[in-house]
Symmetry: C2
Subunit: 251 residues, 2 copies
DNA sequence: CGACGTGTTGAGTGTGATCAACATCTGTGG
DNA sequence: CCACAGATGTTGATCACACTCAACACGTCG
């Protein structure tokens, strides 16, 4: 399942970017916008299940998510999988590989995923001419690190129920900040296998743990999807205060 | 235990930095060196047990480790602690807090720790005038993310024995790349409580797990310290290939 | 139709947690 | 100098959370 049909044109030139107007994102200087517009060389739309970036590869591109869900993960040689984080619109993917040369993780689409495509070899031009954008890139990397810190705390020190509650509250909040389910049903398009591989649990125990959250009316489970009904309950169970949401840059 | 006696002078001006000559670190342009030298406002030496940066605070400084060991961690309100990563010479700490405003984790010294002190509010000058250094900062943030990814895989998907083997091999390799125990005994200055809080295990089970590694002659445990005897054995147990060590920047 | 992905539930097992007791060693105050 | 508290490491006994195995229901898709 690797339908990588690159739709070449730009349906969404940066000047009419559907994300930028959201007040989650910081304002942009006109010259910055002009640069990004040139930096962006195209768009890419992929189906659910497509692997966008592969661990061990040397990608010539980086991407910003325009719409849809995805996840970053690592595999062990015997097949064990750990999901590291999820990506939602506005997130930059492939920066790590662009800087250090080789991807250390893979990225897969959870839903139809629209991506803005950037050329890796133009990255240094950005650093040379646009210190504000360079700062933004570091900012995005630092924020990814913050999310990973919290995930690590979760997997290392929270119980199964706390972990599940944390994860679903986390994904729910991230979806809301980028209006991911503004239109239509408010569901997170994951399977219980994804939850298990994120939390470091077996799929059977994940199922039983999610059932407890369902019985408390905190969530609802649909076919390959989760709907958060009571975010406050999840935050309480997890002992988590939520994303201290700050305005963030958008590449 | 908060002996924060700031030794003001510069014992080690950047021009005679004891770390930079190591070939782990990338070469520097003269103008970059000059900038860093001005950017560095002093040195700070703290004792073992000192908390260098506190979660929730707004630090005006960032630091580069000149010598010694430390660790980054998060606490939950009921006292559970998760160690996120360790810091060794050459590592930059406090960047996250400098960018996003508030520290989301704490940093504590594992041994006597010597730090170079930088002023946060000069950070943007760096971005404006030194794109190479700006690139380096993002590079360092991306590398921290890579280490966290691997730690998360470990805690989420490796068994207790595999986790312990991974951690000690990891710390051993990091120590070697910066010649941390070039002089004197080659020990990692941690307690079993630190290991437990890194791996997400109880201290009792950590003790029993480390005993297995000791019985296999892979490590030796001293008072508040670990000595790696058979790195290959640890790598084998963990199913880990080691740090693909690349030359890295030094601030 | 059968194969496959996904979700569900029960039974038995085991890894790792908790509880408890003890051995050292250090530092501190009397 | 000793008594004591606290940090660290060790080991055994018991418990429970989470894993494995197994079977089944349901949908989609070739």
């Amino acid at each position: 399942m690797t339908s990588t049909a690159p739709s070449l044109g730009k349906l969404y030139p940066c000047e009419i970017c559907p994300l930028r107007p959201l007040n989650t994102f910081r304002d942009f200087q006109p010259d910055e916008l002009a640069f990004i517009s040139r930096f962006k060389t195209g768009e890419l739309t992929v189906d659910r299940g497509t692997t966008v970036l592969v661990e061990g590869s040397h990608s010539a591109h980086l991407y910003t998510v325009l719409s849809g869900w995805g996840f970053r993960y690592k595999l062990m040689s015997d097949g064990r999988r750990q999901i590291l984080n999820y990506v939602v619109p506005g997130d930059l993917i492939g920066l790590q590989g662009s800087l250090t040369g080789e991807m250390q993780h893979s990225v897969e689409a959870l839903s139809t995923l629209m991506l803005c495509v950037f050329e890796r070899d133009q990255l240094f031009t950005l650093y040379r001419n646009h210190p504000g954008l360079a700062y933004d890139l570091t900012w995005l990397a630092a924020r990814e690190e913050q999310m990973l810190d919290e995930n690590l705390l979760s997997v290392g020190r929270r119980s199964a129920l706390e972990r599940a509650a944390y994860l679903l509250a986390f994904l729910h909040q991230r979806a809301q900040t980028v209006h991911l389910y503004a239109n239509g049903r408010a569901t997170i398009p994951i399977t219980q296998q994804h939850v298990a591989d994120t939390l470091g649990l077996s799929i059977v125990h994940t199922n039983k743990t999610l059932r407890k959250l369902i019985n408390r009316n905190a969530i609802r489970w649909l076919d390959r999807g989760c709907e958060v009904l009571d975010e406050a309950a999840l935050l309480g169970i997890a002992g988590w205060e939520g994303l201290g949401e700050q305005r963030r840059p958008l590449m």
